[in-house]
Amino acid sequence: MSININIQNLSKSFGETIALKEISLDIKPNELFGFIGPDGSGKTTLFRILTSLLLPDSGTATVDGLDAVTDYKKIRKLTGYMPGRFSLYSDLSVEENLNFYASIFNTSLEENYDLIKDIYSRIEPFKKRRVSALSGGMKQKLALSCALIHKPKLLILDEPTTGVDAVSRKEFWELLKNMQEKNITILVSTPYMDEASLCDRIALMQNGNMLAVNRPQQIIDQYERQLFEVKTENMHPLVSDLEKYNREALVYRFGEYVHVSTYNGDEREYVFALQGYLTGKGYDQVIIQKKIPVIEDCFLALMDKSQTL
């Protein structure tokens, strides 16, 4: 059986900085749950409380029914944690690190080899190498192997893909999906919004608050605005000209387009009027089309809403 997590009104401050503001959340057994948000949004603080490394100011958190404050010894046995900062021993070899972490939990590499085979096999050819001489991608795979060596029921990964290139990030997510099939509940945090769609459910985090909690597709379905993408010949001044056109709209670059997010009613009328405005400003080859939002659009809209409230 994999395990569930229950979080009730959890708050934590560091001096005047509020890291978590009365967070309540249920995570289901075997869920792959993502916390999406920038640095300082509270992701790490939440993870450190759930792993019993930090005490909350108020509220409660339980892991498999165990209290994160009083039952910390039991929680540590069933949790695998990969912190955001690489924290293996760089003067030990790959193999020595694994054996060390296994022995802490009274187990061995051989005993749980099956569980980590997928990941570990990719770095096994270098098992005699010191960790200080590994590439970033290899360190990441070793850290994940170490977090899994005691066969945890809960895996908590703090920004495992930060600073990792787009290709290695995709591979890493495939590994996580495989892990989920082994009946492990997985919590993962990331600043990359495009990774949200790979989770079962996500929480969008900002300044210690959850802006939204839902399945990625549902967050997209609940987008309250109309979104257009605009492209022209000369893109440099486009953002400021679009902002002047419609001051309530959210205007931001998005890849090769600029996105305009509005509450305006009639779609065709809006496109027609905007086309006229941009042509009048001297823009050539104006393309305006309706766009289906992605998680990053939703995040920006929710951020805007939380700031104006």
Binding site: D39, G163, R169, M193, R253, G255, E256
Partner: protein, 242 residues
């Protein structure tokens, strides 16, 4: 556009560490005022190349001209004419915002008056006047990165190197940061930037993609997408770099 002079000229750049070839015959140029994206998987050789371009490391062979100077012969002249900012090393947390400007202005040999003027100019521009005398550690990450960018531009370098400048900041701040990049490029500064955000690759005029020490593609994002028959730079990157 073809009339713009080249600020970076790299010819047959090779860098070896023992028997390992980190940069394998790189050839490219970057003109004045261009925003150039330097992409590649971890370990592809980007950092090695940037260290050479910024005069911190010598090429094994080949010729590299930055801002008019050969990096092998005049590394210190190169350093004076470039700005550099990275996510890891930015500014001093235990100095105030103004002291950071003062420190870096001093390193680049700006006069007291120039330092003062530049500091005021940037604080106004970033709407951070009240924060001038606050310790850097008390300032949110997104603002720190904007300050770091300003400090890197303070001595009006010909080219500014940005090594993953937007890691970890929220999506709004990330975009505000790119507005600063555009402004700076419009004033003629060449911007040489690395990023793992593929939507940011689209903001560059041209990008190069490195794989295993070689440049395997170099063109505008639009050309690359059409060449590989895909819709996003993410897809281009995955099909090339894997």
């Amino acid at each position: 556009m073809s009339q713009r002079k080249n600020i970076i000229e790299v010819t047959n750049l090779v860098k070896k560490f023992g028997s390992f070839t980190a940069n394998d015959k790189l050839n490219f140029t970057v003109p004045e005022g261009e925003i150039f994206g330097f992409l590649g998987a971890n370990g592809a050789g980007k950092t090695t190349a940037i260290k050479i371009l910024s005069g911190l490391s010598k090429p094994t062979s080949g010729k590299v001209i930055v801002a008019g100077y050969d990096v092998s012969k005049y590394p210190n002249k190169v350093k004076r004419n470039i700005g550099y900012m990275s996510q890891q090393f930015s500014l001093y947390n235990d100095l105030t915002v103004r002291e950071n400007f003062r420190f870096y202005g001093g390193i680049y040999g700006l006069s007291n008056k120039a330092i003062k003027d530049k500091t005021n100019y940037y604080l106004n521009k970033l709407e951070m006047q009240e924060y001038g005398n606050k310790l850097l550690r008390s300032i949110p990450l997104g603002w720190k990165q904007k300050l770091a960018f300003s400090v890197a531009n303070m001595h009006e370098p010909a080219v500014v190197f940005l090594d993953e400048p937007t890691g970890g900041v929220d999506p709004i701040t990330r975009r505000q940061f790119w507005e600063l990049i555009y402004e700076s490029a419009d004033l003629g500064t060449t911007v040489f930037v690395t990023t793992h955000y593929m939507d940011e690759a689209e903001y560059c005029e041209r990008v190069s993609i490195m794989s295993e020490g070689k440049i395997v593609a170099i063109d505008s994002p639009a050309e690359l997408k059409s060449k590989y028959g895909v819709d996003t730079m993410d897809d281009v990157f995955v099909s090339i770099a894997r």
